[in-house]
Subunit: 403 residues, 2 copies
DNA sequence: CGATTTAATTTGAAACTCAAAAAAAATCTT
DNA sequence: AAGATTTTTTTTGAGTTTCAAATTAAATCG
């Protein structure tokens, strides 16, 4: 039988309303009650009731300070916003070389940030836990906080993650498969831990802080060492039934094509990821390229082999993008990640190819935005995830205690 | 600002509950009130209230006849089901050669079915309207009905359709682009018309009558003349923002590959659709294959060229399937369509290739089911769509009149 | 035939939402 | 500067809706 939401639950019929109001406020940043009512389609009376509850609970607050630019006359609107002090959360991004940590308040304002180099690329689960905790401790210390001050910790890790179970099927940072990393961490901290695939966290960050703010259907594509995708449908991250969907980097773009780090052939990542580009460049030219910078510069200087490699990467990427558009027909695609500091993946040529390869319809094609955030974006995404989940927990608690 | 659902609307706060109960009953076929309560997470009292409303409105009815196999003791459950007589709907599938019509009652029980050959493949919009109406008239006549007896008409057509607007961007059955076919038809009948891409309708049929019953996240892939996809997420068809997502057949599986009927190169369809297979076979062998039957037979007889063509089709299809799994991580994939009477698209070999090409995770891989329905399935899908939409309209009406 | 069991309905209370009225807080007008 | 006007927010009271608990209904068990 298909599982379905309750018509309403006994302890609370207002949980949905509370969540909706909170989400509206977060999306808007600062917003008056009357506008919440409009946005959420509720009556002003109901909004007054719900907001005064949320204020009493300390989740939101009035902020008169910069009065809402409204002019005209009548009673002025009073802006509401998330109360930053409501909770502190941490976001951690585990990458090959380092663990980045950001600690923010509940509004997403950064308190402190910290990057810690990792000794090894791949670790045992226990070692990775140690490293994560150490980086958290350091970040807290740097911000004059204790670990116990945190209300939630979001963690992003590359690989196959079932966020619903806080479970890692596989990660390039771990020596073992099938690690219950969430449980291991929660045993050692006193707040909930939220684990997810790193690309999903970027999508969350874009939705809450970035280009996807106020957009409810968009796709984020990240290009770094590997290629990832985050899918936002109806404002929520799409994860698939096993939690391992959105593996855009491992969709095949060539039958029996180039070898991927995953062991399979023809994955998009094997044509676009940085390791793949360097591998091919160093196989085919005398120059020894240490990094993408070098390869990109060579191509810019007219070196044929380098140019050809980046050109093919661009074409493969355009093909992958076109496939995403053909399947999802999103309103927006956000390209994100360090690789996107180089334009070979989003040059006009690539975008034109993409346009040529999508289904032709007399309606505007999806907007493509490039958002080349730095490394901390990933950790920021983890805080966004933590903020959202802690909000949900708090609202649910509020509901339970309301009776 | 992101649009969001109302907390509740003034005229009716029960619309959601009504719809949910109705959906639960339809999904179950026959179900007792107490089980509805469990499934929907509502109290028995609420279910009693809602069901008695629906019974009064004539949408559902008690059916004592085959008592629910329950045994034990206590007061026996009484089964509820959709009242077939509540409404009549028609479903039309427009294909290249023919228009198929099915008329069913509100339970989906077939009243009459009819297939009418079309004189031309591609028509002007006016001509297509004429043909659709003629086929509807004939089907009604065959069932002893009048067009006016219908409460809704679902229509499936190959091509790019925005179902939300009943609008056809492009269809291989139409000589013009951008046709407001829904409006044209509604001007000539006295009930609502619901237009959709044909693959979406197959998905709807699978969800309501077929293998997708009681599954809320699955993908349907249709292979016929072209290749289509229907995406069901959380029990609803996913359509994208412009209504032209899920164009699986036109995702690219080869850079600058085979020429597709859409004018682009490398589309999956250009390797798997029947026209593509025949085109290649007839270019490369002396035998003149008139249809897939002939090609399939030749391959079976060991003819090398035929075998090679089908083999490549199978590999390309496996790659496409693997990509779908990697992106959606669905619980179920249903392969549907006339092409699937031949096993070269779902032989063990193809499925094995697919398994090899999906991301490797220690969790069960999606189930793949083959459902080689006949031509009428498509029309049946159109009735399913009509039933669902008419249900929604009726529930909404009920809500409006309840005040 | 009463006891027991399970399903469905009724009842009464609590919660929720909303429209309308009232209050609050500003500007505009004279 | 006082009153009119405008707009936002809160309060009030009525109408729905949901649910737990009690009741009724309809079967089997012993």
């Amino acid at each position: 039988m298909a599982k379905s939401r309750r018509v309403s639950s006994s302890a609370d019929q207002r949980e949905g309303g509370r969540r909706q109001v909170l989400e509206t406020i977060r999306a808007a940043g600062r917003i008056a009650r009357i506008d919440i009512a409009k946005a959420a389609g509720a009556s002003p009376a109901t909004v007054t009731a719900i907001t005064s509850e949320l204020i009493a609970a300390g989740l939101i607050e009035e902020c008169a300070d910069p009065p809402l630019q409204d002019a005209k006359r009548g009673r002025p609107r009073v802006a509401l916003k998330i109360r930053g002090g409501a909770h502190l959360v941490a976001g951690v991004k585990v990458s090959h070389h380092a663990a980045s940590v950001v600690i923010t308040d509940f509004e997403g304002t950064e308190i402190t940030a910290r990057e810690m180099r990792l000794a090894e690329n791949r670790m045992t689960p226990a070692k990775l836990c140690d490293e994560i905790l150490r980086s958290l401790d350091e970040a807290c210390a740097a911000g004059g906080l204790a670990l116990g001050d945190l209300s939630g910790i979001g963690i992003g890790i590359a690989g196959l993650v079932d966020a619903r179970r806080n479970f890692v099927y596989w990660s390039s940072s771990l020596r073992e498969r099938n690690v219950d990393l969430g449980r291991m961490l929660e045993a050692r901290v006193h707040c909930p831990v939220f684990l997810d695939n790193d690309a999903n966290l970027v999508a969350k960050a874009e939705h809450i802080f970035g280009e996807g703010r106020n957009v409810d259907n968009f796709i984020v594509i990240t290009v770094e060492h590997g290629v990832g995708m985050g899918i936002v449908l109806d404002g929520r991250i799409y994860r698939g039934v096993r939690g391992c969907g959105a593996e855009f980097g491992h969709t095949k773009v060539q039958l029996e094509g180039a070898l991927c780090q995953c062991g399979q052939r023809g994955c998009l990542e094997a044509y676009v990821g940085d390791y793949a580009l360097l591998r091919e460049a160093n196989l085919n030219s005398e120059t020894d390229h240490k990094d993408i910078d070098s390869l990109f510069a060579a191509a810019g200087a007219g070196e044929e082999i380098a140019g050809s490699i980046l050109d093919r990467a661009g074409r493969m990427f355009a093909m992958g993008l076109a496939n995403v558009v053909n399947i999802f027909d999103p309103s927006l695609i956000i390209l994100s990640g360090a690789q996107l500091n180089y334009d070979f993946l989003y040059s006009d040529k690539v975008i034109d190819q993409m346009k040529r390869w999508i289904v032709q319809v007399d309606a505007p094609i999806p907007e493509v935005k490039v958002h080349g955030w730095g490394d901390l974006m990933w950790a920021k995404g983890a805080t966004a995830y933590a903020i959202e989940e802690v909000s949900n927990l708090t609202v649910r608690e509020l509901a339970a205690n309301a009776g």
